[in-house]
Assembly symmetry: C2
Homo-oligomer: 359 residues x 2
Amino acid sequence: MDNSRLQGIRTLISAEGIDSLLVSEQENRRYLSGFRGSSGWLFISQKQALLTTDFRYTEQARQESQGFEIMQTNGETAIWFTKLIQTHGWHKLGFEAQYIPFATYQQLSKIIEAEHLDLELIPCYRMVEKLRCIKDATELNIITKAVQLTDAAFTKFLSTIRPGITEKEIAWEVEGFLRKNGAEATAFDIIVATGPNTALPHAIPGERRLQQGEPILIDMGAKIDGYCSDFTRTVCIGKADKTLQEIYSIVLEAQQAAIEGIKSGMNGAEADTLARNIIEAAGYGNNFGHGLGHGIGLAIHEAPFLSRLSSDILSDSMVFSIEPGIYIQGYGGVRIEDTVRLENGSVKILTKSAKSLSF
Amino acid sequence: MDNSRLQGIRTLISAEGIDSLLVSEQENRRYLSGFRGSSGWLFISQKQALLTTDFRYTEQARQESQGFEIMQTNGETAIWFTKLIQTHGWHKLGFEAQYIPFATYQQLSKIIEAEHLDLELIPCYRMVEKLRCIKDATELNIITKAVQLTDAAFTKFLSTIRPGITEKEIAWEVEGFLRKNGAEATAFDIIVATGPNTALPHAIPGERRLQQGEPILIDMGAKIDGYCSDFTRTVCIGKADKTLQEIYSIVLEAQQAAIEGIKSGMNGAEADTLARNIIEAAGYGNNFGHGLGHGIGLAIHEAPFLSRLSSDILSDSMVFSIEPGIYIQGYGGVRIEDTVRLENGSVKILTKSAKSLSF
């Protein structure tokens, strides 16, 4: 695995005043070790890098996580955890507080007490995430590929939609296109919503059939080598009514303002405000109930977050979505989303698809 | 939503000595409320049933969770959580200790202290899971449909495999079949492994091409109306060598012993032993490193667990997998898996596909 990542986390481990870090979150684990299995813990100290996993994954771990010592966990946690801690002589073990369940914390605490281990468990926050949010050249390259694939899938979408086709049928066509053209998976369940269903920001594709003159929204992402893209367009076959035209142009204007206004050094709340101000000024403030965007990488939602309460500082080489929306219950909604990155202080749009209500 | 489920959880809430329960785990939330969104908390007491979620999901929640009061969470948790607790006058709030992250527990604890709430947080274990593991007639009906679909997909698999085809190509053909024939999704990422890759119990389909005379393993599941099936077969095109024939017949014998021997009232470890004894007696004990099976329902892995350390008691109307395996590193492996249910004390096999190394 990329050794600079291990160096990076070791610097943060020092700064945190711990002597070892337990990494349990799946994407954090993969980022540091390359291990793609769904179960396992990393233990990282200044000198050691260890991956513990069970029988199902030890062979895979050996193949994927070179540079990591692989330990197969057998039977009771009390036994192997105690041995592990005693062998390495750790005294301050950090853990990912946002991901370790309360019950696991309790279990480890009980083992520490019962086995008289001289070990303190220290809750840590967003350590690997701090590294992950800055993308290196290889990561940017893969994400760009994933974005290009969603652009191509949007062309496929446009050639697929016609009055009478169901949301599910469209979603399946687009998914097939993504999978046959290089995506190992979709980044999340594809959203295809038509008519009033477009008022649900996270609609599930159903049996509803597309009609002329109503909005149809697609929100999709491709996953390539573990990395995601995120993409939304809202379009209309035939003539859109006045409301749809109006909210479309407001959302587009809000997105454009964010694209032009977001600069490195801003925080997530300031970025969010750029778009929100425009939507509020147009009288639709209550209809834009989610954040402006989120970081994109190994996870589809990761740091930095662009929202009203976010203090995340935006900086060069971050990749995130810009996706304002207006949703009117019972009528429908519009969302427009690009995947972008920050470069030389400004936004560079990775998504190339045109933004137009009618095609 | 099914009111008997709410009654069931209220009985458990009483027994636990709490006055309210916070349900955060996704499938538990869906089981009790019908809500399919990816974010939200249920608060359930003897009289109230409340679903809190954010803007993205409130409209969906209203449609899906009738009988639940829907509360849209805005802004800081400290504000809405405090108001919620004060309004309802709860004093002992149970939470799902296996799913609530340590950081969330800490956050709620800090709010309780800062706001001087007269509220105790009580860690609870497997409350909704206790209800979920007993399937009612409707659930059994849906799961049976999902199992029938994987049987049909296995026929598709057999007509697809040929020397030279890659694991990825096969996986995509099978997934397409599942999705076009009624599955809303696959129950998990399909495993297709060929040759030595079959030694990895959770292999990821890759570019390797199938050859004559080597094992090919498919592990797949369909999801219908939220419910999963789970299915594995190992087959061989052309003549299998002696080792493959030997381990196949041992695994088959072990599975048959479990199917015949598992009875309601046994615990998960006793069930596991039925198959493990046979594999151990044949000298392959160290090559069967995972448990014999797991419950199947809204989650692909849920209670009851059939494994060496499981004290789960098996009972009628439970649905689970029986899936012994033997894995030899560098050579390959065999796993055979059916989805079964317990009925009148004995195993009834839902999976109908033939078990044969050669087709």
